[in-house]
Structures are given as C-alpha cells and as structure tokens.
C-alpha cells in the first residue's frame, strides 16, 4: 500500500527504522534532538530514541565528524548530520583523510561504517558560503560512497542502504526537496547503490543527472517533446558507485548525451561522466557529450542572478537542442 509522504519524512523513517533494527545506529548533529532538526528531518526522534541515541552537538564539525569516525572504528554505525554540506568543509580533514582511508591505512583492521548526511546545493538565496555542491569536490576520493536521492522513495531506500553499508557514505540531500511529496510504501524496502533508474524513457537524447536538477531535466523533457525531441532522463542515484552501464545502454540507443550536474564545471562529476561516456560510447555518439552545470562563479544572493546561475530548465533545453543539432 503506497502512502504519500514528504521527502523529510522519508529520511526520518529510514533513520528510525534502521535505529530500531540495529542498536548500534545513532544520530548526531547540530539541533537534531531538542530542536527537532534544523529542517525538521529528525522531528520526534528524540522522543522515541532518547538522548543517548539522538544527540545534539555544539557547532563543532571537526569534533563530531571525528567522533563519528572513531565510534565507527569501534563498530558503531553513526549517522552524522551536517546542517549543510557547506559546513562539512570545516571537517574536511576528518571526513576525507580519516573516514575513507581508515580501512586501507589499518590494513583491513578497522572499517568505517558511517553515514554523513545533510543538505547539498543551492538552498535559495543563501549566499555563496552556504550554497555548496560538494559532490564534485568529494567524489574524487576513493574509499567513500556517495548517494543523491531524487524523491521521497529514493530518500528512504537509499538512506537505509547507506546505513547498512560497511563503507563510509556521503549522503547528499537538498533543502529544496525536503517538502516534496511522493509515494513511499509502508513495507520494508531498500534501494541498492550502483543502479541508475530511467525516470523518463525516450529515444531521442539521453539526459543524465542526480538529485534536484532532475526536476529541471524532466521539465525540459516535456518542453522538448513538443519540439519532437524525445528525451530519456536517467537518474544516476549514486555517484560512487556509478552505474555507467545504464547510461551506456541509453546512449547506444539515442546517440546523444547531456549530463546535468549542479556543481561547478571544472573537474566535476559532469566532466567525469562525459569522459566515461566518450570512452564507452565513442562509436555510438553523433555529437560530443554536452554538460550543463551551475555557472563557474560563486553563488550570488540576488534571486534572479541565482536562478540564472543554476543548471535550470532553459539551459538544459538549450543543451539538448544543441547536442541533437536542433539548435
């Protein structure tokens, strides 16, 4: 039986179910307990699980990220919330030097089954220090996994998988999606990592993206359908591991590929996917892979400027027209 719930509820359900299932799981972060979560994701969890398992921290990312990693080394399974992934930069040494490398540096002795989660991407006039899209920065590092849910269903399914995964997972949510409603079954389910999903089948052009920009992609696909261009929109779901095979299958069918990545273009996830597609589909491409990113500038405050900066529907339409020689 499917119910309609919000993305934030789906995240909470995932965490709560995993915490009921496994006493080693706990949630820690700024304002997660008594404040009910800065964005109300963890509302009610303090009441159910108590202050030993839903823990407020001071504003101290290095300390609580590192604490989570130390606890994970001992076999606990922490969920560490960054109020915004922008703040994770403060804890960069811990999350990049310790979490993804602990298993390797200890020669297989101490793993790090931790989940770092929080809002990623532009939140709406939050200014350049609070609008970070960290996927391109962090995806470069081997040893971590990275997931970006599109809707409530995936939010729940992917987060459960993340918590059960024995490797460190960076879970990138979006403040702008927290209120989006979707069908989420009551029954137990998970969404596996490394399995992309075709959100809109099509034959004319492959469009690959993750997270919030997919909504722009789908909007663009509707507009382009009127023009006779039939887009196939693929939700990558996880960046590490990346389901390249799904993208290749699609490009072999359509011969055109657009990658939409909300982070900045230089040395980005979009650039990586484009390179991989060029290599795997060289003989199937009628044009080079076109990328759509946020503009290569710090995020501005002013509403109109920020809207222009994002990988918006207009840019995606232009990209698809251009790549299919319909510009």
């Amino acid at each position: 039986m499917a119910r309609i719930i919000e993305f934030r509820d789906a995240l909470r359900e995932a965490m709560s179910e995993e915490m009921r299932r496994d006493p080693r799981v706990f949630l820690m972060g700024e304002e997660v307990a008594e404040y009910d979560g800065a964005y109300k994701v963890s509302r009610g969890m303090l009441d159910e699980f108590g202050p030993r398992r839903v823990i407020d921290t001071p504003i101290s990312e290095t300390a609580f990220a590192g604490l989570g990693i130390g606890a994970a080394m001992m076999g606990l399974r922490p969920v560490i919330e960054f109020m915004s992934w922008s703040f994770s930069l403060v804890a960069a040494d811990q999350i990049l030097n310790n979490a993804p490398k602990m298993l390797y540096m200890s020669g297989g002795q101490f793993g790090c089954p931790i989940v770092f989660r929080g809002n990623d991407g532009a939140g709406g006039q939050l200014g350049s220090t609070h609008s970070w899209c960290v996927e391109s920065l962090y995806a470069n590092v081997p040893g971590l996994k990275m997931a970006i849910p599109f809707d409530a269903y995936d939010a729940k399914g992917l987060l459960k998988t993340a918590i059960r995964d024995d490797s460190p997972v960076f879970f990138l949510e979006s403040e702008r999606l927290l209120s989006v409603k979707g069908e989420v079954p009551e029954e137990e389910f998970v969404v596996a990592f490394g399995e992309a999903l075709v959100r809109r089948p099509g034959t004319g052009c492959t469009v690959v993206s993750f997270g919030r920009p997919l909504y722009f992609c789908l909007e663009a696909a509707t507009i382009l359908a009127e023009e006779g261009i039939d887009c196939e929109v693929i939700d990558g779901r996880t960046i590490r591991p990346l389901d390249l095979a799904a993208i290749v299958r699609s490009v072999r069918k359509t011969n055109y590929c657009v990658v939409v990545d909300q982070s900045w273009p230089f040395a980005s996830v979009g650039a990586e996917i484009a390179a991989q597609v060029h290599k795997a589909c060289f003989d199937d491409l009628d044009n080079h892979v076109v990328r759509v990113h946020s503009d290569d500038v710090p995020a501005p405050y002013s509403y109109d400027l920020e809207q222009q900066m994002l990988p918006n529907t207009r840019k995606i339409c232009e990209a698809v027209r251009s790549v299919t020689y319909n510009a």
């Binding site: 011969n255 060289f282 003989d283 199937d284 491409l285 009628d286 044009n287 080079h288 020689y325």
Partner: protein
C-alpha cells in the same frame, strides 16, 4: 663478524653525501650512539652515529670525498675481532680526489611528473579522416552506420557544424535510396511479390534484325556490389542442398476466392504468397531449426519468426533486390500480413525501405510464380538456415482419389543449410507445410 659502515641516508631526499670530518681514526674504539663523522647532505650537515660497539678497523672514504648513499665508508671490528686482520681483508680506501670535488647537486628525488595534463581536447569532436582521402568530418555513429550500409560518405553533404556528416545525413541517404544499401539480399534469380507485375524483362524479346548489342562496361551500383558479395559468400560457405515438394493448391485457391469476394469491399486482396508466409511461419513453430542461424560453436534459435519476402526493384531505383521483413508473422493474421507485404513492396519500389524494414528476417520466401516459372532453386539469405522458392500454380492433369482430374499444383523448393538442417528434418517441415497449405482453413487460426 666485522660490520660495514655505509654512507647513511640522512634525509629522505639524500642521494649522495660527503664526509666533512671524521671524528675517529683507524684503531679508535667506539660505542653505539657515538657520532663518528660529520656528513654534508643535500639539506644540512648532520652527524653520523654508529649503532654498535667496536673498533674502527679501516676508514675507506677520506674527508672531502662525495659518495653515493649506501657506499661503504668504514669497517668496524666487533669486540672479539682483531682490527688489523679486518683492515687487511677489507677493500683499499678510495683515492682522495685530486682537486676539491664539488659535491654533485643531489639528483632530484621527485620523479619526473607524469604528463597527466594532456593537450586540451578541442571543443568539437575531432573529425575522423577518411583513409587516404582528404579530411572528412563525420561523427562516429554516422561513420559506423555508413559502413554498415555500404554508403559512400564522400558523396554526402554534412549538415553538422563545419560540414560534419551526422547521423541524420546518413539516414536521409538511406531513406532517399540514392545509394540503395541492400544490406540483405535474396536468391540470384529476380523475384517479385505477386501484386502488380514488374517489368523486368519477362519473356525474352526478339531483338530487331540488324541491330547489334551495345558492348561496354556497366559500373557496379552499391546494390549490385552488395548482392555479388553476399551471394558469393552464401553459396561458397553454406553447404546448400534442395528438397522439393508439390502442393495441391485447389483448396487454397478456393478459399482465397471466397475470402477475397467477401472482403473486397474492405479493400482486402489476399495473394497466394500471403498464405504461404503464414503457412511457413506456423510450420516453423514445429520445426525451430528453420528459424535458426549458424553461430560457429552453436546453433542459435531465434525467438521471433520474421519472414523475409524478396522484392525486385525497378531500374530507376537501382535495380537489384531487397528483402522486406514481415515481423512476427506467426502472431499476425492473413489480413495483416497481406497489408504489410503490399505496403513494404510498394515502399521498396518507391521511397526505399529503412534498415529496420530490411533487417531481422529469420526465414525467406522467394516467389517467381508471377512469371510462370514452374520451379527453381534459391540461394540462402544469410544468416537464415533455409529459403523457400515458390513457382506458379499450374493447371494440370492430376490424380485425385484414384481418378485423373484437372487440378492446380504448385511446386516449392527448399534450399537448406546442411550444417543446421538434415534431409529428414527438411522433409518433415515440408510435410507440415503441405498439411497447412492443403487444409488452408488451418491458416486462418
């Protein structure tokens, strides 16, 4: 046992060192931890310590000398050994350099960086130059499609940036049929779908007296080239053999007449070939080897039953033949098959067929009945395992129930790939087909 003291690595980038000063001499006793020399490295001057107790038996490298890290510089005799003996046994000391040897600059310890930054790739896709020809701009998939369909790209006009030939240019060429790709080609003899007859020199015309043939060379069209290549390949690599059967087609002719009368108002006009298409499709279900391909290490049985029908093309379309594919003929009724066959034949002769319309047949039928041919054999259309060559329905004196009567008979000859289908199997197929054809009501269900 004596201990060799070597030039130590005193910094992680040190490759050579020179001995600025020895603090001990031969015969001096030392304890572990004593600083016995000052060594100049690439970074600083450092003390060198010994790690064992003993007596300096021999100094091998004098002051002022630069040597590589790891080079023996002295020998240490342990407590119970005689330093003199050890000295005698060890290598002679290095000659001091004639002039003050400049310590060579320490070789850079960092290996030459990998040229990770390659030249920036151009913004547009690099064009693929045609072999030996002038530079051609063409996208990879357009190149591949052109190769697959034997299209000469040098004749194409590219509509992409900078004149790049792109997929739609190749597809357009295919559709317009300027160069008929003729990817799939049937038997050598010309064939027509029995609808409107094609003027393809039926009866031999008698040339007017006194006129000679025009000698000369006819350049090969793409179609002709492809036909030649594929048929030679088919005939020379597949072990062909033939099995013939004759059908009593009176029941079929009757049924056809009845149906066509009743359905004339709906525009339906069934041909004998339509019935044969369906018949073969159904018979194939009982004989899956007829829906197979030779795969080298195995025989691949196909899931879909796609019947190919040979269509002859008029000279203005380049001549030659194409095979149009009626997909899933086993799941379609006669009406549908008939309409499809007509449509494809018409299209082949006018606008040309698309790749999809020509691809994927698993069994082919070639019909010369229109021309009054009694019987002929066809060449297998690879990668099929068989082809059926159908002649005309002839009015003959036949034996029915022990009596000689007038009836209609039609000859059909299977050409088969002996690697996949043996004679007995072929015979059984024909028995099945005959049952269907001679009780044609079974073709309706």
């Amino acid at each position: 046992m004596s201990i060799e003291i070597t030039m130590p690595r005193l910094s992680d980038t040190m490759e050579t060192g020179s001995i600025l000063k020895w603090n001990v001499g031969e015969g001096d006793s030392v304890s572990a931890g004593d600083a016995v020399a000052d060594i100049e490295t690439d970074k600083a001057t450092m003390e060198m310590q010994v790690y064992d107790d003993g007596t300096i038996a021999r100094i091998l490298v004098p002051e002022g000398q630069t040597v590589e890290v790891g080079t023996p510089i002295a020998v240490l005799a342990e407590k119970d050994e005689d330093p003199q003996e050890i000295a005698a046994a060890s290598a002679p000391p290095l000659e001091p350099a004639p002039a003050a040897q400049e310590a060579p600059a320490a070789a850079p310890a960092v290996p030459a960086p990998d040229p990770t930054a390659s030249a920036p790739t151009p913004a547009t896709a690099a064009p693929v130059p045609a072999a030996g020809a002038e530079r051609l701009r063409i996208s990879p998939v357009a190149r591949r499609l052109a190769d697959e369909h034997g299209i000469d790209v040098s004749l194409l006009q590219g509509s992409g940036p900078g004149g790049r030939i792109i997929k739609r240019d190749v597809m357009g060429a295919l559709e317009a049929g300027r160069e008929t790709a003729a990817a799939l080609v049937p038997s050598a003899a010309a064939v027509a779908v029995p609808t409107t007859p094609v003027e393809l020199s039926p009866a031999a015309a008698v040339p007017p007296a006194g006129v000679r043939l025009e000698p000369g060379l006819v350049p090969l069209s793409n179609a002709r080239q492809t036909i030649a290549r594929r048929l030679v390949e088919s005939k020379t690599t597949i072990p062909h053999y033939q099995v013939t059967v004759t059908f009593n087609v009176d029941p079929l002719l009757d049924l056809r007449r009845v149906l066509n009368e009743q359905l004339a108002a709906q525009g339906v006009k069934l041909s004998l070939n339509d019935f044969l298409i369906r018949g073969c499709a159904l018979a194939i279900h009982q004989h899956p080897e007829f829906n197979a391909s030779w795969a080298g290490e195995s025989i691949e049985i196909h899931g879909e039953v796609n019947i190919g029908i040979a269509v002859a093309l008029p000279p203005e379309r380049g001549g030659g033949l194409v095979v149009a594919t009626i997909r899933q003929a086993d799941r379609r009724g006669l009406r549908e098959i008939s309409a499809e066959a007509k449509h494809l034949a018409e299209k082949a002769r006018t606008r040309g067929l698309t790749i999809d319309e020509m691809a994927g047949s698993t069994f082919t039928i070639s019909n010369l009945g229109m021309f009054g041919v009694d019987h002929f054999t066809a060449i297998i259309n690879p990668p099929n395992s068989a082809i059926l060559a159908v002649g005309t329905a002839q009015e003959l004196a036949v034996v029915r129930d022990g009596q000689i009567v007038i009836g209609h008979e039609m000859s059909a000859t299977l050409s088969l790939d002996h690697r996949i289908i043996d004679g007995a199997t072929a015979a059984q197929f024909l028995v099945s087909l005959r049952q269907l054809v001679e009780s044609p009501a079974t073709l309706l269900v």
